[in-house]
């Protein structure tokens, strides 16, 4: 191979440097916004440090772990700020407390009528008093979800929405979609007489663009504390599956 003359090497290096600088100018700047960690390290890393301000949808079927993630986020936020839950009648405070939510800082907004939900949500977000607002699925149009997503982004709040199906969101909305899927049950014992449900494993797949990772992350939600004595554990096992599945679903 012929040796490359020095001026040409310099020109090539300068060209590469220029190319790099031009590419850097168009690359989105690293986000400086405040993120809310869910305290699930794998998930936090995958979504860039935590839940962002704006709309975060948790999509999936019943018992797919959506509630477990939502409650973790509520618990983390309630340690430093107020959080709100729009309650359509199914709020079960013991499950929230068990997940670590500080009930003193949880505003439970009773919304009996569907028509009032959007107005209550709008009022809550505009007031800027809550770091996280949690709402269950509603058959709203993408335009309404888009409006709330922008509002939440502007006010620095995280709007956590539990959806049964995928959100048809227009491009450009500040939406982080997390698709949850139940994978397996965790049993103690041998699964026969005397065996009990200990927890369930599920996977979360971030669907937003420009995330560090889009591969599904496997998580496991346990129902029982391992330190519980055997007698209590067996008692919990009798009641825990029904209650916890309901609370987390």
């Amino acid at each position: 191979m012929l040796p490359v003359p020095a001026p040409q090497r310099n020109r090539e290096a300068a060209f590469l440097s220029l190319k790099e600088r031009l590419a850097a100018a168009h690359r989105p700047a690293p986000s400086q916004e405040r993120r809310l960690p869910c305290e699930l390290p794998a998930l936090d890393t995958a979504i860039g440090g935590g839940l962002p301000a704006g709309l975060v949808t948790l999509e999936g079927a019943l018992s797919s772990g959506r509630g477990a993630i939502a409650f973790r986020a509520l618990a983390a936020a309630s340690r430093s700020a107020f959080v709100a839950l729009l309650d359509d009648g199914g709020c079960y405070p013991p499950a929230l407390a068990e997940a670590g939510v500080l009930l003193e800082r949880l505003l439970i907004v009773p919304v009996r009528e569907g028509g009032l939900l959007a107005r209550a949500l709008d009022t809550l977000l505009r007031s800027r008093v809550c770091r996280v607002v949690f709402v269950r699925a509603r058959a709203w149009s993408a335009a309404i979800w888009g409006r709330f997503a922008r509002l939440a982004r502007e006010t620095g709040s995280t709007l956590l929405a539990l959806l049964d199906g995928p959100l048809q969101a227009p491009a450009g909305l500040p939406v982080l979609r997390l698709r949850c899927r139940g994978e397996r049950l965790v049993l103690c014992g041998r699964g026969s007489v005397g065996g009990a449900l200990l927890g369930f494993a599920f996977s979360v797949e971030p669907l937003a663009r420009a995330l560090p990772s889009r591969t599904p992350i496997s998580l496991q939600a346990m129902l029982l504390r391992e330190a519980a004595p055997l007698r209590e554990r067996s008692l919990h096992a009798v009641r825990a599956p029904q209650r916890t599945l309901r609370a987390h679903a």
């Binding site: 407390a97 003193e104 008093v129």
Partner: protein, 417 residues
């Protein structure tokens, strides 16, 4: 002549202002020395000291408190008379003689100094009064001057009459009518401006506000609101009030309004300088009022209660912007209370007597309840039943029951051991 009244009883803190108001009937000059202690200037008041003491007792009789009185030209002497010799009247010039047998602790001297006096052989007020003024000051400092003057019965300090709490209110009556929301809010804004100005002039801030509306059809409506933080700012008051009024419907035009500031406090509040991201209390109060106006019911807060192994107990209560509780909050372990065993039984309908929706009697013939707690929102998770309202009740014979409310009927569902 001064009269010292010392009052002892329960809930003095809450009722003390009302008691001072009652004492105004005895003398126009009343000094509020401390909660439970007041001085009355009786110069020029008709009657004798014994009659004045009787008047004071009569004025405070409705409060059901113990009253002790003492009269003297000297305030300290009157206080000692009230404290140690109820009803005693110390004639002018005999103060020192009256005070001399009392112990030094009556002079409000700290215990360590009293020990020092005791080492010097001084145990009574009279012995202190006999000491030379100069050396006493040199040895015990400037504070000893006050002790010596008091011990000699020569502390002639003027009374500091208490300030009267005048109501801060504004009203608009007979000045037209408001038929639209804009007109109503405009008039309210005007009245709140007056309230705000009055608060600012008097150096006060309002912890709440009461608005009375008088309608064209002779109906009246009163709304009371309390703020997260006492304020004199017109805008802050207006925001909360407007949020609360969002759900109000008036059947007729509003022809009059009266606004009154409640829970007046000294102005001034702590401000957060370096915590811009923290929620402002007033914002939270406005949001809560707005949501209540929108939904027709208050925003709630859940609270857990200790329960048996097989059930969870929780209740909902109104969410109040109580920051002191919130900022210091951390879920503490529930206190370990001894709980009697509950035996669930087949549901049986029972007759329950109610007062304001709360059970007060049970059975036929009715047995009056000693105590009742609830309602508990309980959920039978094993049988997938919806949540229901239950009460624990205690009867006079010591039995405890669990009763259940479903629609309009009541059922007995558990017995406590």
């Amino acid at each position: 002549m001064l009269l010292c009244a010392i009052v002892e009883g329960e809930n003095l803190q809450q009722r003390w202002e009302a008691m001072l108001d009652a004492l105004d009937a005895v003398s126009p000059t009343v000094e509020d020395a401390a909660v439970g202690s007041a001085y009355l200037d009786m110069h020029g008041i008709v009657g004798e000291p014994v009659q004045w003491c009787a008047q004071v007792r009569r004025a405070l009789a409705p409060f059901g408190v113990a009253v002790r009185c003492g009269c003297s030209e000297d305030a300290f002497c009157a206080e000692v008379a009230a404290r140690y010799a109820d009803g005693c009247v110390v004639p002018a010039g005999e103060e020192a003689a009256f005070l001399s047998p009392f112990p030094l602790s009556a002079l409000d001297i700290d215990p360590r100094t009293i020990e020092r006096f005791v080492l010097l052989g001084i145990e009574r007020i009279g012995e202190l009064a006999a000491l030379p003024h100069g050396p006493l000051l040199r040895r015990f400092g400037a504070r000893a001057a006050c002790w010596h003057l008091r011990a000699c019965g020569m502390e002639r300090r003027p009374l500091a009459p208490r300030a009267f709490t005048l109501p801060i209110e504004a009203s608009a009556l007979g000045e037209g009518e408001a038929q639209t929301q804009e007109q109503l809010l405009f008039a309210l804004r005007f009245l709140l401006g007056e309230i705000s100005e009055s608060c600012a002039l008097r150096g006060r801030s309002a912890g709440g506000i009461r608005v009375e509306f008088f309608c064209d059809d002779a109906s009246e409506r009163s709304i009371e609101l309390f703020f997260a933080l006492p304020t004199a700012e017109e805008r802050a008051i207006f925001d909360v009030l407007r949020a609360r009024l969002e759900r109000e419907r008036f059947e007729a035009a509003v022809v009059g309004m009266r606004v009154r500031a409640l829970r007046l406090e000294e102005a001034g509040s702590s401000q957060m300088l370096f915590a811009r991201e923290r929620v402002q209390r007033q914002d939270l109060a406005v949001a809560l009022a707005r949501l209540e106006g929108l939904l027709g019911e208050p925003v709630r807060r859940a609270r857990l209660h200790p329960a048996h192994m097989f059930e969870e107990r929780f209740s909902f209560e109104r969410f109040t912007p109580d920051f002191v509780a919130v900022e210091d909050s951390c879920i503490s372990a529930l206190p370990a209370l001894p709980l009697p065993a509950l035996h669930l039984i087949a549901e049986r309908e029972v007759a329950v007597g109610l007062r304001d929706g709360i059970p007060v009697a049970i059975g036929n013939p009715p047995s009056v309840l000693c105590e009742g707690v609830g309602h508990w929102c309980t959920q039978d998770v094993a049988r997938e039943l919806p949540p229901r309202d239950e009460y624990d009740i205690a009867l006079a014979d010591g039995r405890w029951y669990r009763i259940l409310h479903r629609q309009t009927r009541w059922y007995l569902c558990g017995v406590y051991e």
